[in-house]
């Protein structure tokens, strides 16, 4: 093993790899922090560059850019309440509330520190737990996947501050949007109304940019400019992080574990990890009432979780060629292109390459701390700029970013439409994040649902027959029905309470 490790070191200690990794890190930080440009997009735009690189340098750019972009999505989330990447959407409100309370350093510092810790935990999982975890995930059938996806969707209702019924409605709207297009079990145009642009369906990224960024600019049009934050130099970004680590060590560990598990499951990536962890953090917190008002606890757990899932998402990708998330899907393409075909043999025949990947992940996460701090300091100047200079540029980024996804203007129309939808929904208490989750996960949920129904010949019973499926089903149905149950319970309770006090 030591020999392999030395070989791996030799592989990565070339100038080409070092420069590629550094440049990709800076690139990932910049792209992730631009609202509307996701980590997936950052990685996808890198693929043409990887043509010109050696296999290890190519993988290094993907590892570095994706890890950095997932973290730097937190920066505009905290400073402007516009999450840079979907994985930051779960806690952007919380981080922004902290900034408004004057705790921007703490929020951003927690972002960079716990992201790095989570990333390293993810790599350790990739090294130690990869084979057994992947085996468990592989034993899941579509029935388990269906319930698991449904549970993931239910997380949106747990974190919502509005009525759970409205959150579930928002989620259904998102699922309905995901039905649009020809990507369905019959391969026929569905809800396209004869518009050819709709055949490809609604991409999650323009929808997300619309509801988060454009709707924010729309709100700015009607609200008076908030008083500027006191002009002060940003203090130490890392101050207080060690204290937070000691205080919230259990939340951090739980975030890492949840992120690792979600990362390993094919199809569920950093976005879902952040949502689930933020929901868990609120659910098990000793001070749940502080959530949403600028409380760091959820940031610790979700920030650790989304970065942990990035590395562990490579587990099924490397072992079986099944992508853990969209970034891993792109990485698989590059692996094939570079002759590092994913599969169990990769671990035996090209062990040094595998170790090189582990080492690159560790280096990327260590590099994240100094580079992340530098990026935060640059980005913090956004806070000093008046809204009338920042918002027009965000609008322009929305237009160009959404155009860039498919190189067609339909993306820009989608962004505009979802801006209006997001604005109306938020004004009426419907959480837009629940809708986004529905759009992102809709295709996966439908695939698992329809494949399961085809396997069971239309019968519902097999959805509950396998023990793991039954447990997941009970949890998902419980989460779906609890608002109604609490409502009924409250309706029944007052007369009894009155009778008890009367006695």
């Amino acid at each position: 093993m030591l020999k392999t490790l030395i070989e791996a070191f030799a592989l990565i200690s070339t100038w080409e790899v070092i420069i590629a990794m550094f440049a990709a890190s800076v690139y990932g930080l910049v792209i992730g922090s631009l609202p509307g440009l996701s980590a997936t997009m950052a990685t996808a735009l890198l693929v043409p560059v990887t043509f010109y690189l050696s296999p290890i340098a190519a993988i290094a750019t993907i590892v570095a850019a994706s890890s950095m972009a997932i973290f730097s999505g937190d920066i505009p989330g905290a400073l402007l309440r516009i999450p840079g990447t979907p994985a930051s959407a779960a806690y952007a409100d919380e981080a922004y509330a902290m900034t408004r309370k004057g705790q921007a350093e703490l929020a951003l510092g927690a972002g960079v520190w716990f992201s790095a810790v989570g990333g390293i935990a993810g790599v350790l999982s990739l090294m130690i737990l990869a084979p057994p975890l992947a085996e468990i995930a592989l034993s899941f059938s579509t029935f388990e996947y269906f319930w698991l996806a449904l549970l993931g969707l239910m997380c949106a209702t747990l974190v919502a501050r509005s009525s759970p019924v409205k959150a579930i409605a928002g989620m259904f709207i998102g699922l309905l949007v995901s039905c649009i297009g020809i990507e369905n079990p019959g391969g026929i145009p569905r809800f396209t109304f004869g518009i050819t642009d709709l055949f490809g369906g609604i991409e999650p990224i323009p929808a997300l940019v619309g509801v988060f960024a454009v709707a924010q600019v729309m709100r700015a049009m009607l609200t008076p400019e908030p008083p500027p934050l006191p002009r002060r130099k940003f203090g130490s970004i890392m101050a207080g992080q060690w204290k937070l680590t000691k205080l919230y060590h259990w939340q951090m560990t739980r975030g890492n574990i949840v992120g690792i598990i979600i990362g390993v499951l094919p199809g569920a990536g950093a976005d879902m990890a952040a949502w689930v962890s933020y929901a868990m953090s609120k659910r098990f917190s000793k001070e749940p009432e502080k959530f949403g008002t600028g409380h760091v606890e959820g940031l610790v757990e979700a920030g650790a979780s989304n970065n942990a899932s990035i590395a562990s998402g490579w587990v099924p990708s490397l072992l079986f060629g099944i992508p853990g998330d969209t970034i891993a899907a792109i990485a698989i393409g590059v692996l094939y292109m570079k002759g590092l075909n994913p599969g169990p043999t990769l671990f035996t025949e090209k062990a040094s390459s595998m170790y090189a990947i582990y080492l690159m992940f560790i280096i990327a996460n260590i590099l994240m701390i100094p580079l992340g701090i530098a990026m935060i300091r640059v980005a913090a100047y956004i806070l000093l700029a008046p809204r009338s200079t920042v918002m027009p540029i965000i609008m322009l980024c929305c237009a160009v970013g959404s155009f860039a996804i498919g190189n067609n203007m339909f993306g820009v129309v989608t962004v505009a439409a979802f801006g209006v939808i997001g604005y109306v929904m938020e004004a009426n208490g419907y959480p837009v994040a629940a809708m986004v989750l529905g759009i992102v996960m809709g295709t996966m949920v439908e695939q698992a649902f329809v494949t399961s129904l085809i396997k069971s010949d239309g019968s519902i019973l097999p959805f509950f027959e396998r023990p793991v499926a039954a447990i997941l089903a009970a949890m998902a149905i419980g989460a779906l029905l609890w608002p109604v149950m609490v409502w009924v319970w409250r309706k029944v309770k007052p007369p009894q309470a009155a009778a008890a006090t009367g006695r």
């Binding site: 759970p164 709207i173 699922l175 079990p185 729309m218 009607l222 009338s388």
Partner: protein, 163 residues
């Protein structure tokens, strides 16, 4: 734009019913018990049920009013100015995005982007001294990042960029 729950709930019932109907009329896949119609049917039904629950106020008691983070000392927010058509200002950003869709190919990226930036900036209260240089410089900066570095094909139109 705040509508009563009965209105939004009824809209969801109608949307759910339309989705379920839209699913219902989709052709099935021959020889397969389930096809593209099942998922819209399930979602439509769910959406309609949620709409009904919202109309009847189920779950309303969970709703929390958004807590505003207290301002720091010495800061006071001005009350929003009110007018009859004031609410329509919110539609300016999506309208400008549609303007981009229709104008970018003819006018080119730089000119269209400059108009968008100028209009948005002045609508948000910037004086021309700030809005004009912003509109003149920011399209070039964005073009440099997206057009030159990320190789997004942005239309040249009337005013091509020097690179």
């Amino acid at each position: 734009m705040r509508l009563p729950d009965s209105v939004t709930g009824s809209f969801l019932v109608a949307l759910g019913a339309a989705a379920a109907y839209g699913g219902w009329i989709l052709p099935p896949v021959p020889g397969q018990p389930v096809g593209p119609n099942v998922f819209p049917l399930v979602i439509g039904t769910g959406l309609a049920l949620c709409g009904l629950a919202i109309v009847f106020g189920i779950g309303h008691s969970f709703e929390e009013e958004e807590e505003l983070v207290p301002l720091e000392d010495g800061q006071a927010a001005a009350p929003p100015p009110q007018g009859k058509l004031y609410g329509l200002r919110a539609l300016l950003p999506p309208a400008l995005l549609l303007f981009y869709v229709f104008a970018a190919d003819r006018l080119g990226f730089i000119v269209t982007a400059a108009i968008m930036v100028y209009v948005t900036s002045t609508a948000l209260g910037a004086k021309w001294k700030l809005a004009l240089p912003l509109a003149a410089l920011s399209p070039f900066a964005i073009h440099l990042i997206f057009g030159k570095l990320l190789r997004v094909p942005l239309p040249a139109g009337l005013l091509p960029t020097p690179w």
